[in-house]
């Protein structure tokens, strides 16, 4: 892989290391994309997961469909860590093109499984090698031609399983789940797995230290990607329209909605859909459809990534100003511009907060786990309808497309909050209605839905300046009072968004603020720092605007590292704007190279700065 190891690992020579390393390694499978290694990698990771061993899976893939290098990394961690690590201990080399590079990136004392038909030099003597007779095994198993590639990949599953001690029964179970119980593919693939394991048992002798053992740490957990989690959240949040346009890394969110909606949201009586999913012609149309539906009273959303967000700027301003509820998922990828579609980043924070010309302030939710992707998936609708404004959910490629463990998602207990909507009966009772009147003093006006059967119900939604009755007005006082109310509303928003997650440590000197997918790396980094005697306090933001708790945390700490994955220190900037009196407390710890942050990088940065 393009990243080189920056942290030393034990070399085999060193005798203190002779005892085995159990459930604690990163294994990378280096393949060519489009050769169908997903099934085999899923089988490996799921088998490990079912053995009770904490795992995470990250796919590092090119912006390309077939023929370029791809790396799938499985990390097992006895302590349950799930962040990316710089070091790779086990390499499964299935791509000759990158072999030397991949080999070079192995940690000293590492292990290298490789296809025995490679013509390469094994130019490292601090690594254990196992050659894999892939072609031979294929000849033996004789899979159908069109499945050859897929089955071939099962060879490394069998060999690696045998050498690491992965239970083949779990591999079979994993395949059964993968193929939804279809016997034929399961048998075909297991045939190869067994043959390969068999071969390894006979021909290979274990020389390395790495192996796995059953554990009980994944009891009751699930393993999933964040986009699927977000899709399920939306479906359990009453999503009625998803209008979207394909874009990496957001597509799989809308596609998961498409895949699950029929089973979850078909009307039992009529057998008809209680929702609609429209692949729009572009992002302008996608958000336009969602806003039209939000205006008409449905729970509507769109999902996209950076370029789509840019195209949604004008419509976002309209929804903000006409006060239409809508949910927008931004699965962030590396920008500016088309950037790196298959690399992760947190670079849209500042732009989205102020998205739309003129004066705007948008609400952002910041999920930090797949559990929160699910939760914010439904909660975003409650907040959007309560506040009558666009609500952005900012995830990223790492959280959205990679595999994470999580407790099973909690079914939403609270009933849906549909916000301030007046029915015909309400109007009859009230006798009057002004769309943009601040009746309750919280800046949130009441609305009526099209089709409401009352002569008072109608109002004319518009992006132009308006008075309380939604009538066009150029009067300075109308403009000012409406904007003052809108600003009141942006404050009210603080009391409806999720609070941050706080973790103060005894005698903490330094404090950390972060958000989103950096959480696992920070958690691990803080443990390391603790070991090295540096206690830290940590606040994980889960939304913008900031709540009281955020203010309290900022007041309470003098040196605050803002850890994020972008070039400009964007969240740091939002914090400085919110707390000018503490502007100098915030120190940017930002790194933005397309790869998820590592605990190593964070802890090194902090101990360096803290003079540890």
């Amino acid at each position: 892989m393009t990243e080189v190891a920056t942290r030393p690992a034990p070399s085999p020579g060193d005798s203190s290391e002779r005892e085995p390393i159990v459930n604690d390694f990163s294994m990378v499978v280096a393949t060519v994309n489009g050769t169908g290694s997903q099934t085999s990698n899923m089988a490996l990771i799921r088998a490990l997961f079912r053995m009770g061993i904490p795992v995470t899976g990250k796919n590092l893939f090119p912006s390309n469909i077939q023929g370029l290098p791809t790396w799938f990394t499985i990390r097992t961690s006895a302590e349950g860590y799930s962040a990316r690590r710089e070091t790779i201990e086990i390499l499964v080399a299935m791509n000759q093109a990158t072999f030397q590079e991949d080999l070079a990136s192995l940690a000293p004392g590492g292990v290298c499984f490789y296809a025995d038909d490679f013509t390469v030099q094994l130019n490292r003597d601090d690594v254990t090698y196992y050659a894999m007779p892939i072609q031979e095994l294929i000849k033996e198993v004789q899979p159908p031609r069109q499945l050859k590639d897929y089955v071939a990949n099962m060879a490394y599953v069998g060999i690696v399983a045998e050498m690491l001690g992965i239970d083949l029964a779990e591999v079979r179970g994993a395949l059964e789940t993968h193929f939804r119980g279809k016997a034929k593919p399961v048998e075909l693939n297991m045939q190869m797995v067994d043959a390969a394991a068999e071969w390894a048992r006979e021909h290979l002798t274990k020389q390395d230290l790495f192996r796995v053992e059953r554990d009980d740490q994944t009891e009751g957990l699930i393993i999933m990607d964040g986009n699927t989690a977000g899709a399920l959240g939306a479906l359990y949040g009453g999503m009625s329209l998803t209008a979207w346009y394909p874009i990496t890394p957001a597509s799989s969110l809308a596609e998961a909605i498409r895949d699950y909606a029929p089973q979850l949201r078909t009307d039992p009586e009529t057998g008809k859909a209680t929702y609609s999913i429209i692949q729009a012609e572009d992002e302008l149309a996608a958000i336009g459809m969602a806003i039209g539906a939000g205006w008409a009273g449905a729970r509507a959303m769109t999902s996209t990534s950076g370029p789509g967000i840019s195209l949604m700027a004008e419509f976002t301003g309209l929804a903000f100003f006409a006060e239409i509820p809508v949910v927008i998922w931004d699965i962030q990828r590396m920008g500016p511009s088309t950037g790196l579609p298959t690399r992760t980043s947190q670079g849209d924070i500042l732009f989205v907060r102020f998205l739309g010309h003129g004066d705007t302030k948008n609400v952002m939710l910041l999920p930090g786990s797949i559990g929160e992707c699910f939760e914010f998936g439904w909660r975003a609708f409650d907040i959007a309808e309560r506040l009558q404004t666009p609500v952005f959910v900012l995830s990223d490629l790492d959280l959205g497309m990679n595999l994470w463990m999580s407790p099973p998602f909690e079914y939403p207990e609270a009933p849906m909050d549909r916000g301030k909507v007046l029915s015909a009966e309400d109007l009859e009772r009230l006798g009057s209605f002004a769309r943009y009147k601040d009746v309750d003093g919280d800046g949130i006006p009441y609305r009526t839905l099209p089709g409401t059967d009352h002569p008072l119900a109608a109002w004319f939604a518009r992006g132009t300046g308006h008075n309380e009755h939604a009538v066009y007005s150029e009067r300075p006082d109308d403009w000012v009072s409406n904007m003052e109310r809108l600003w009141r509303k942006t404050d009210t928003a603080r009391s409806y968004v999720p609070e941050p997650i706080l973790d103060e440590m005894e005698g903490a000197e330094a404090a950390l603020i972060s958000y989103g997918s950096t959480d696992p790396a920070i958690t691990e980094a803080r443990d390391r720092l603790k070991e090295d005697g540096l206690a830290t306090s940590y606040m994980r933001l889960r939304a913008v605007p900031f709540t009281e708790q955020v203010a309290a945390f900022v007041e309470a700490h003098e040196r605050i590292y803002v850890v994020e994955m972008n070039t400009d220190g964007q969240m740091r900037q939002l914090l400085q704007l919110e707390y000018p009196q503490y502007a100098t407390r915030f120190i940017s710890l930002n790194h933005n190279d397309g790869l998820p942050l590592t605990a190593y990088w964070i802890s090194e940065q902090i101990s360096a700065r803290e003079g540890n």
Binding site: G292, G297, Y411, T452
Partner: protein, 340 residues
Amino acid sequence: MATTLNLVGLEKSDYKGRPTTLCQGCGHNSISSQIMAVCYELSIRPEDIIKLSGIGCSSKSPAYFLNRSHGFNSLHGRMPSVGTGALVANRAIRALGVSGDGDTASIGLGQFVHAMRRNVPMVYIIENNGVYGLTKGQFSATADRGQVLKKIGENPFMPVDLCLQAMAANCGFVARSFAGDPKQVKELLKAALSFEGTAVLDIISPCTTFNNADSSTKSYSWGKEHETPIHDITYVPVRAEIEVDYDPGETTTVELHDGSLILLKKLDESYDPTDRRAAINLLEDATESQQLVTGLIYINRDLPSLQDAENMIETPLAELAAEQLRPSRESLEALLADYR
């Protein structure tokens, strides 16, 4: 006249809007009047209509009719997407969309075509005056090649023929009319409101302030001189059917989704609006002969509407009960099992 109530017990005045702020004589105003008249005469409850528009003088006009209908004056060129979403959220309401030639043929062309592709069931009126009225008279994409406007100069580009665009996009209801021919506008509007699919009305609607010179094909005088209706159209609502009688030799009839009828009384040559090739040819002829050919140019009732294509429930999504929107606790547990 004494106020008479229509079948839903409303007076004409119940259909009015705010006072217009458009220029005197603006074609858009006369179209607004026909919209009010049509909804009154068809006894449509204003609450069952939504008004949609983009940005422009034309797009302002929904503020000037049907005060009792919800409306959305959206963004320049984006009415189609907003309408699509609204109609997906509530398929029980009828949508009246008013756009302009700039709004539709310039910035909005993509959304226009894709809304027709999806057959979004809305009446899509283009108040076509060949200029950008609200920004003070620049050429729009429907202006004729070679037309000269003082202050602005000559337009070197070919016009976009919105009806031909509609044909290319397989639209199922394509009509052209003229604000100076209120009777025809009215009948076409009635028919469009009974059509389940995108109904496009390309109505030449003169901009008296910026593009009403006799030489302009978008002017009143030009329209009066060059309008050539392809038939004399009459809309017959369902209930009225029995009463109407007409000469079958002279008249072809088209039945609409709700059972109402369109009577097309043939003028000089007979014309079959269900013949796609004929429709395209007619438009080509009109361009060559520089005639303002008006009437129901093409109709095809066999295309499924967006909601039917998506097999959507009849109940407006906006009115679904919580339990229809949120699947059961059990379903969640069941599906999570696959991720263990």
